[in-house]
């Protein structure tokens, strides 16, 4: 028999304060966790990234193979384990054997792998590792433990603990993994204020970017008298280059729900919202299932487990606006308004959603709570640096060997993450910088690779923790172009309310556009404007930072100011030499005509908008560099591959 709802409520959830469950119950828990199994189990990493890499086909082919071979086995879609670049991932757990993982299992590889494994042998490629911690199970010989994989070894997984391992839509499995124990214990053991104190003591700080101590923030709302209070989970992960929240919700929605329940109890909120991007349909789908399950178990609803505590959780789909990451904008959005921030005070903790005390915590912050309650504040604060405790999830992407999600203890160096965990820069290219904190952050260069990651150290080098996006850039990345990219993003995503942000970011973008473009007309003031632009941009940046209404505007100039600090010479090259060393800025490219290939057909000269190409008919043509605006029309026109770009 497999434990059902009544069994779990009576034997597990009602005894969360017991130190040890009976051996019979423990056996049930092992089965639910798939640490032991009667039937073979096949797990497919089916997060958004897995599916994007073809996991659906992998899953279909696995099912087909099993039915063709008459094997009764279960195929379980799981979330993302973090190793996106190795997707699709496929795990197999044969009864009595340890769970074993394979990487790059695209549809056509499924048969080969399953053929071998079910025959008890290993395939030649694609083996990633096995789950060494399943001690009661027999090991696969010669297969390393997954935890010893260089990608996983330096990690310490609290938030990501179950991601990619457990079935995200099984509350039973979550309960078997100590799920909801923290919440039910908190209801029993802690008073609200005590719980706030406890979390404050743990040193947990907001993982959404600001880094405000979570327990302290809760106390503002707890201390405000009101007939209704709200908790909002901010899952509007708008930072381009960050996908932690998506992966956490897709991989372990119950952990988030439990964290929300704990936080809601601490501040006395009986209603909670998850504000999640509509662009994350899979995460929403899994969250909806998880909420229904928790309701069915009486973990959400009225008078939860007889505690007298009520909780309702509502999902609100964000309609796409980066600025809604800002607390007051997010509140306006839930209220059905344009997501424009308002001045603070009053702070949401005293007057927020519908004018009631409201606490907004980010997904990662909330997902930390169950483990902190279970393992203790001291345990949590023993990790990390003096000011930043616990772990941090980072999303690694860009010019890096292994892309994906990692959770590392605070205090780890940036170098460790990039060169050890993620395997460094591919294709033998040189590391240039890593952008941290998204459009509000800045870059960390090789000069600062050895800083220990915490909130303060990153700010000191002009970057920020942000929500945890790390986009790695190599020598082929143009830093002026990156600054331009962020400015373009920010000026589009600015809410348009306050003048410095609305007009200022647009002007900064225009200045960056002008220095990444050759002046079209030398007679006008355009060339002068390019020079003046660079003088302006720093000044403008400072005023925008100093006067903008909300955090988005105040941090908007950061990518420019940061790249200007570390890569000033690249800016100067663009302005003075009209040259982009990375070859990214199209409009600064140098075009020449290869006399060998040129047939003198005159087509390029006819197409050139500035009459920069000269040459007689049937004679090789030439480009006058001073007149060329690098539009590329000649390259497109040439049928003989005679136009060269450098």
């Amino acid at each position: 028999m497999i434990a059902d709802k009544t069994y779990l409520i009576e034997n597990v959830l009602k005894h969360t304060d017991k130190i040890k469950l009976s051996p019979a119950v423990q056996q049930q828990m092992r089965l639910l966790r798939s640490d032991e199994n009667d039937k073979p189990l096949v797990f497919v990493g089916a997060g958004t990234c897995g599916l994007g890499a073809g996991a659906a086909e992998t899953m279909d082919n696995a099912k087909a193979w099993l039915s063709e071979n008459g094997i009764e086995a279960e195929v379980i879609p799981v979330g993302c384990i973090g190793l996106c670049s190795s997707e699709p991932l496929l795990d197999i757990k044969l009864p009595g054997k340890k769970r074993i993982s394979f990487e790059h299992v695209s549809g056509e590889k499924v048969k080969g792998i399953l053929d071998k494994i079910f025959a008890g042998t290993l395939p030649d490629h694609e083996t990633l590792g096995q789950f060494g911690e399943q001690e009661s199970q027999q090991s696969w010989e010669g297969v390393p433990n997954l935890k010893d994989h260089p990608f996983f070894k330096p990690q310490l997984r609290i938030v990501l603990e179950n991601c990619g391992v457990s079935n995200p839509v099984s509350i039973e499995e979550y309960i078997a993994r100590d799920g909801y124990k923290a919440y039910l214990n908190a209801l029993k053991v802690f008073g609200r204020e005590e719980l706030c104190d406890f979390i404050e003591k743990s040193g947990l700080r907001g993982r959404g970017g600001g880094g405000f101590p979570t327990g302290k923030k809760w106390k503002f709302a707890l201390g405000t008298e009101a007939d209704q209070k709200y908790l909002i989970c901010n899952a509007d992960e708008g930072d381009p280059g960050a996908f932690m929240d998506r992966a956490v919700i897709e991989g372990d929605p119950h952990k988030l729900l439990e964290g929300m329940a704990i936080a809601a109890y601490a501040i006395g909120a009986s209603k909670a919202y998850v504000y999640i991007r509509a662009e994350y349909p899979l995460a929403i789908e899994r969250l909806v299932i998880a909420i229904d399950q928790a309701k069915e178990y009486g973990l959400i609803g009225k008078n939860i487990f007889g505690s007298g505590t009520d909780l309702e959780i509502v999902i609100k789909k964000g309609a796409g606006a980066f600025v809604c990451g800002e607390e007051t904008a997010l509140i306006h959005s839930i209220e059905g308004k344009r997501g424009m921030p308002r001045p603070r005070p009053p702070f949401p903790a005293t007057s927020g959603l519908f004018g009631k005390p409201t606490i907004i915590n980010n997904v990662e912050t909330l997902s930390n709570l169950p483990t902190i309650v279970n393992k203790g504040a001291d345990w949590f604060s023993s990790m990390g640096t003096a000011t930043s405790k616990g772990t941090k999830v980072f999303a690694l992407s860009g010019k890096i060997s292994l892309t994906g999600l990692v959770e590392i203890p605070m205090g780890t160096t940036v170098r460790e993450i990039i060169f050890n965990v993620a395997g460094g820069i591919p294709n033998g290219k040189k590391f240039k910088a890593v952008q941290m904190g998204g459009p509000s952050g800045g870059c960390v260069t090789d000069k600062n690779l050895d800083i220990q990651i915490d909130y303060e150290s990153l700010v000191n080098v002009g970057a920020m923790m942000g929500s945890g996006g790390m986009v790695v850039m190599d020598e082929d990345t143009c830093m002026v172009d990156i600054a331009k990219f962020f400015m373009d993003f920010i000026q589009r995503e600015s809410c348009g309310k306050c003048i410095p942000c609305r007009e200022g970011t647009r002007r900064m973008l225009e200045i960056l556009e002008s220095i990444t473009t050759k002046p079209k007309n030398r007679e006008t003031h355009e060339p002068l404007a390019r020079f003046k632009g660079v003088l302006q941009i720093e000044k403008l940046g400072r005023v925008i930072r100093d006067t903008s209404l909300c955090g988005l505007g105040q941090s908007a100039p950061n990518p420019v100011l940061s790249t200007l600090t570390w890569f000033r010479e690249e800016y100067e090259e663009h302005v003075f030499d009209k040259k982009c060393r990375a070859g990214v800025c199209k409009n600064l490219r140098v075009y020449t005509i290869d006399v060998e290939n040129c047939t003198g057909c005159t087509l390029c000269a006819k197409k050139c908008p500035t009459n920069a190409i000269i040459g007689g008919r049937k004679q090789p043509h030439f480009i006058i560099p001073d007149k060329c605006i690098s539009c590329g029309a000649c390259e497109e026109a040439c049928n003989f591959n005679a136009v060269k770009v450098s």
């Binding site: 958004t48 990234c49 599916l51 994007g52 890499a53 996106c84 670049s85 997707e87 992960e237 708008g238 930072d239 381009p240 280059g241 960050a242 996908f243 998506r246 991007r277 509509a278 662009e279 994350y280 349909p281 609100k316 789909k317 964000g318 309609a319 796409g320 606006a321 980066f322 959005s333 839930i334 209220e335 059905g336 308004k337 344009r338 997501g339 424009m340 519908f354 999303a395 992407s397 860009g398 010019k399 892309t403 994906g404 952008q435 998204g438 996006g469 986009v471 790695v472 850039m473 990345t477 990156i482 990219f485 962020f486 993003f489 995503e493 809410c495």
Partner: protein
Amino acid sequence: MRSEIQDILDKYPSAGHDSLIPILQQVQEHLGFLSEESVVEVGKFLKMPTSKIFGVATFYNQFRFTQPGKYHVQVCRGTACHVLGSATVLDEIEKNLKVKAGMTTKDKLFSLEVVACIGACGLAPVISINGEFHAKVNSESIKTIFEAYRNREVVS
């Protein structure tokens, strides 16, 4: 006459202004876009001025006011995608479809939209066609992808 969106509105018996965005999302899911008539109707239902609803709808990236193509192409312009060349990908798609971002092809087959990060940075650059992801695309693979969609039409 019972309007097309009445079924959606029926689901919100005691709706306040905070139901506006969910209602608009459902209307768009149903119609493919927000028609003027639907916005007026939602306004009457919620007792909100149409101008306010228009203001809200134009604020968020999600809402559009014209019918999208049969295949709605979303090009991710997140940081990771940018670093790995999504600008070139976008150029290529614009050339391939002969429309600019924000427009629909003349045969109404494709509409092209540039979207903020879709959170699949590990697969950058990414495009999504009617919700289906295409990972690590480049100028070459774009051609094949769109050819495949066009061929589907010829077959059906």
